[in-house]
Amino acid sequence: MSKESDRGEKTRLKNIYKIQLIGVGGQGTIKTSTIVGEAAMRKGLNVVMSEVHGMARRGGTVVTELKIGEAHSPLIEEGAADLLIAFEPTEALRSLNKINCNSFVIVNSAPIVPFTVSLGISEYPELSSVFDELKAKIKNLSIIDAQKIAKEAGSIISENMVLLGAAVATPGFPVDKDLVIQSMKENLPLKSIETNLKAFELGFKEVKK
């Protein structure tokens, strides 16, 4: 697709497509969301996104919300997300209020246990019970070992691109794959782009197999 035809083209989605991303500080949640948002813009769609900034919060929960289509506010109504991308298993549970029985959900199976668990002031639930609960509630669920796949692709840091690839492969995702790839190239460092593209493709195949 030529650059010109991607831009300025007046496209309208019939419905607003709503994506929630949730992860832990340092996992690249905001970067992943921005890639999707810019790709949607390239397609000529309206897009709004909300991201968290604030205090130095390495290790804190990071939530971003995207609405693609004719929306004004970037915040997703409870139970209204079409797609949830959870970068960590328990974080998927934290976003349960945003999804419904028809939502597509991508969950990274690799847990990140916070220091509060070591300190004994909070608990990390058994992973199997986390997955059981997700399976019981969500029919369109893909649990993906993004960490392992990212390692295969060449770097554990590409975990977020594995999840992005998986998300793009879900039915109804409103932005074409090649536009997302173009957006990745515009947003990620040149030296790691090969690894990231590989991670993205492996993630894509994980859902499209």
Binding site: M41, V47, L75, E78, P125
Partner: protein, 625 residues
């Protein structure tokens, strides 16, 4: 998108911009010459972008020592005929308020915009103040954008308006606007004038009673003229969905939620969006009130417009119901969202609104509290101080820890529990002075380097002069850390990345006459503990500067040099005493399911402090590169 594109992308193109980034582009399209700030979330990214592009853009930019100074820099530039832009978080305007109030009286010659980023729900702030009230207190025209496109467009509009009426303009964003991304259509970047010239006129720029009496009258006259503008401004628009049962008056983020709820439920309402919202357009609102049966006011945070609407209703003796915060239709506190607006509107419209099933979990989820980063030098400072206190057999519960605004306030969390009082920038020292006089308890105050420059020096002078007994720990991590890493007067770089004189905290303390001043590297735990022991026994005011770069800096430098230093735990030596986990609490150190203690190599920063605290010397370094 690359940051540079905010400057270089051409007219007619689109960028997916953060509200804060859009403010930068808007300033550039408005031909800004001078930009100043003190970093504060949710406004910080505006400064981060200017830091990267100001030189290339031919704009002067600085991180001033505090918001009052920042405002003064910009207001002087505007008095000299240049266009200027000063921005800050909402509470920053309190610091700037003294000059802000008078600058509205004196007025400006070049266009000047003051942007205040309010923080409903207090995601990273100490209060929820609504600076639309500040606009009314000062008598400054107010613009309230609802999305990044509007942020950008209002900057340019604001400059023109400011020059037309020779008055600064206030733009009020909220966290959800500053940190919202949206598609922004770009206009042309205009190069601002490089230098202005200040034509003297004491009757305009000296606020002695003789002159301000006249200025006050002029200000009220200006506001009257500007009100005529707000009455007719296309920025204040009516969206008619074809019904008159409810008329909704709204602004800012609340407008977005109203629109989404109205669209989704196909509600037949009439909406008045006020973007140019002060001086309040009385006639426009009166006409709107007359065109509907009842009114809902949707706004964040205080019932500011709601009271204006009630005043109009009272003035014209209208019998209509006003729904909003005051009658409980919408909540008085915290940020809104589509669900809150929907819940409120469901109470007053005839129609059944969409309600969705809502999942929840019964599993208890792990707490991801904010914590000092791995490699953070503040952790070492707290650890060493705690040890010194223990060695001197001081009773910890008898010590008052007066802390300040910065990452180090996290020292209040377990296991350190070193934070008892914190109310504002620089308050650690003034509060310390008060406790030192009011009690016989030992007072330890904590302040960061940037906060010290911002508001720490006058109270330190006070402490010396009034012979207060305080141990002041200046945690100098060579950066303004919590807001994402900006330069400050203690760093040899200015706001544009040019070399700059480094202001010495140690020399300031000595110059003021502090009895004991010591600088130590907190990562050297032993030395730091000794310094603290001496300072804790000093009679009078002692200042200890714990100086070590923020982990964000060391991480970046190591990455550039290709150095990777990681620590590991020798499992044969480890006795699982858990001092590193429970007493030191570095988030990189964790307990495995089998009970063994490990270091996560992805998180380890290589500071090596844990190796110093391990009684069995079981923590070893692994160096690469």
């Amino acid at each position: 998108m690359k940051v540079k594109e905010i400057l270089t992308e051409k007219e007619g193109e689109k960028l997916f911009l953060l509200g804060n980034e859009a403010a930068v582009r808007g300033a550039l399209e408005g031909g800004v010459s001078v930009v100043s700030t003190y970093p504060g979330t949710p406004s910080s990214e505006i400064g981060n972008v200017f830091y990267k592009i100001a030189r290339e853009a031919g704009v002067y930019f600085e991180f001033s020592s505090n918001e009052k100074v920042a405002l003064e820099v910009s207001v002087a530039a505007a008095a000299a005929g240049l266009r200027s832009f000063v921005f800050m978080k909402h509470v920053g305007l309190n610091v700037a308020a003294d000059s802000f109030m008078s600058a509205v009286y004196t007025g400006v010659r070049g266009g000047m915009i003051v942007l205040s980023a309010d923080d409903p729900s207090m995601y990273s702030s100490q209060n929820e103040q609504d600076n639309r009230i500040m606009a009314r207190l000062a008598g400054i025209p107010l613009l309230e954008p609802s999305n990044p496109q509007e942020v950008k467009d209002l900057m340019k509009f604001g400059f023109d308006l400011s020059e037309q009426f020779k008055i600064p303009i206030l733009i009020r964003t909220t966290t959800r606007i500053s940190h919202m991304r949206g598609v922004v259509n770009l206009g042309t970047v205009i190069q601002g004038k490089e230098k202005g010239y200040f034509k003297k006129d004491p009757s305009q720029f000296i606020v002695t009673p003789v002159y301000v009496v006249k200025m006050r009258k002029e200000l009220i006259e200006k506001l009257k003229q500007i009100e005529e503008k707000t009455e007719k401004s296309p920025l204040n628009k009516i969206i008619d969905k074809g019904g008159r049962e409810i008329g909704i008056i709204t602004s800012g983020s609340a407008f977005n939620y109203v629109m989404d709820v109205v669209s989704e439920n196909n509600l037949k309402v009439k909406i008045l969006k006020l973007t140019f919202s002060y001086p309040f357009p009385e006639k426009l609102v009166l006409d709107f009130i007359n065109s509907v049966d009842n009114i809902l006011v949707a706004e964040e945070v205080e019932p500011v417009m709601e009271k204006e609407v009630l005043a109009i209703i009272g003035k014209y003796n209208i019998k209509k119901k006003v729904y909003g915060k005051l009658d409980g239709t919408l909540p008085r506190i915290y940020e809104y969202n589509p669900d809150i607006i929907s819940f409120g509107m469901a109470k007053i419209v005839e129609k059944e609104l969409i309600k969705r099933e809502k999942y929840s979990t019964k599993l208890s989820l792990p707490l991801r509290s904010a914590i000092l980063c791995p490699g953070c030098p503040h952790r070492a400072t707290y650890f060493a101080l705690k040890k010194a206190i223990k060695k001197l057999k001081l009773k910890e519960e008898e010590i008052i820890y007066s802390t300040d605004i910065g990452c180090y306030a996290l020292g209040m969390e377990p296991p350190y529990n070193m934070g008892d009082y914190c109310i504002s920038m620089g308050s650690s020292i003034g509060i310390g002075c008060g406790f030192s006089k009011a009690t016989n308890q030992k007072v330890i105050s904590f302040i960061g380097d940037s906060t010290f420059f911002h508001a720490g020096i006058p109270p330190l002078i006070n402490a010396v002069h009034n012979k207060d007994k305080i141990l002041l720990v200046v945690m100098d991590n060579r950066i303004t850390g919590m807001t994402g890493g900006q330069t400050n007067p203690g760093i040899p770089l200015d706001g544009m990345g040019n070399p700059a004189p480094e202001v010495s905290i140690e020399k300031i303390a000595r110059g003021i006459g502090v009895g004991l001043v010591k600088t130590t590297d907190p990562v050297d735990l032993k030395e730091t503990e000794e310094v603290f022991k001496e300072a804790l026994q000093f009679e009078g005011i002692a200042v200890v500067i714990t100086k070590h770069p923020c982990a964000m800096i060391t991480d970046g430098e190591n990455r550039k040099k290709g150095i990777s230093i990681k620590y590991t735990i020798n499992q044969e030596e480890c006795t699982k005493c858990l001092i590193c986990v429970k007493n030191f609490t570095c988030p990189a150190i964790y307990i495995e399911k089998d009970g063994s203690v490990n270091i996560n190599p992805l998180l380890c920063d290589g500071c090596g402090v844990c190796a110093q605290i391990c009684p069995k010397k079981a923590i070893e370094v692994k160096k690469q590169g």
